[in-house]
Amino acid sequence: MDFTWFHRLGSPPYIYRLSERLSPWFGWSAAILIAAGLYGGLVLAPPDYQQGDGFRIIYVHAPSAWLSLMVYSCMATAAAVGLIWRMKVAHAMAASCAGVGAAFTAVSLITGMLWGKPMWGTYWVWDPRLTAQLILLFLFFGYMALRASYDDTSRADRLSAWLAVIGMVNVPIVRFSVEWWNSLHQSPSVMKLARASMPASMLVPLLLMLAGFTVFFLAFLSVRLRAEVLRREKHSAWVREMVANA
């Protein structure tokens, strides 16, 4: 089997150019998808028969919540790759994930709390999923704090990578807490498309938003990754000549 693609992915300049090429595509498609999703969700979709318009918050809440989990998984995977194959780029990738992930997590928490007030009569309850999601936020913060408190990048990379990998245990807890404990929180309705418990008019925008958020993440990642790679390679030849040519 041919692994050259893998090695190419390992080379900073290649990654830099790749992400440079991709980021505009990601950016635009994200904008379009999210716009469509919002229009569909906030305008076209009918109000919920019991929640009225309050339910529309789901179009931000659910996607950001999903993304928070996905981003963490990406981060942990990248970190693991970096540890196993000693790939600087993978570490850079993991490092670039943290910020966005924390943001998504925070958004899901805030929107969730806002939604909680009308639904549960309180902003916050110490419910398994909510708690687990809060822990996820702490994990992101811990990861960033750990990186910040080491001067020597390679050490920061490898140590924070271990943290990311260890913290991965929390993701399934968040994901399945609703099934495992009898939680106040919604059980995954969308995921069970088979007997979709949502009318298409509500579901389609939600899926659009989800796709949009995902692409947005990719766009953001490609930008952050470029900055990260530059920072690490600032002494290297290819960066110098690139600056010289520019």
């Binding site: 271990w162 260890i166 245990v169």
Partner: protein, 221 residues
């Protein structure tokens, strides 16, 4: 094996030499549990309701308190470098450290719990369960704490970072442990909760030391 025994006895002996530092976490634990009845209106049923929380938060704090010393002291006086250079496998070093930490905090805590629990109105019948839960839980805390301590060893913001990293790792343990305790106290069947706790313990016991050893290697070199 020889290494493990040597390292373990070393830490235990050091602990005996400075009882102040060693007993501090236990003192904290005792204080937390003792102060609550004082700070609150001491109605027993109220206390009994919060007993699990008090015991477990106390245990977590006590563990954390001593974790800061788990590796930092040795790193400070340069002995850690020498230990790492000496021991051929970091795993034995980590296991020894964790074992020592648990023997000096976890175990005493678990054994002390009935005494303090009584003050919180924990029925005598529930004591074995309470102890058992704490034993399992504190093992996890020591293991996870060691990993966090290794991660923050060379870090600039030592203390708080350790707390920040341990918290998310430890919370599940505390939650499961408290649930098990609660159920035992209320006299319900706590079997399920205990299995869960045991499962977590086994999981950490198998994974944490390896991770810690790897981290320690990075931190020291």
């Amino acid at each position: 094996m020889r290494h493990f025994r040597l390292l373990l006895t070393r830490d235990l002996r050091l602990a005996v030499r400075r009882p102040g530092q060693t007993l501090l976490p236990i003192g904290f634990f005792a204080m937390v549990t003792a102060l609550f009845p004082l700070a609150l209106s001491p109605r027993l049923e109220e206390l009994r309701a919060i007993a699990p929380g008090v015991l477990w938060v106390g245990a977590l704090l006590a563990a954390l308190l001593s974790l800061d010393h788990l590796l930092r002291d040795d790193a400070a006086d340069g002995t850690l470098e020498q230990l790492v250079a000496g021991s051929e496998s970091l795993l034995s070093l980590v296991l020894a450290k964790v074992a020592a930490h648990w023997l000096m905090t976890g175990l005493p805590l678990a054994l002390l719990a009935p005494l303090l629990g009584a003050g919180l109105g924990v029925p005598v019948a529930a004591m074995p369960g309470v102890i058992m839960a704490l034993v399992l839980g504190t093992v996890c805390l020591s293991l996870l704490g060691a990993a966090a301590a290794a991660l923050t060893l060379g870090a600039r913001r030592g203390g708080i970072l350790l707390t920040l990293l341990t918290l998310p790792l430890a919370v599940p343990v505390v939650i499961f442990g408290a649930r098990a305790t609660k159920l035992t106290i209320e006299g319900g069947s706590a079997a399920g909760a205990f299995y869960l706790l045991a499962a977590v313990a086994v999981l950490t016991l198998t994974l944490a030391p390896l991770a810690t050893a790897a981290v320690l290697r990075i931190a020291v070199e």
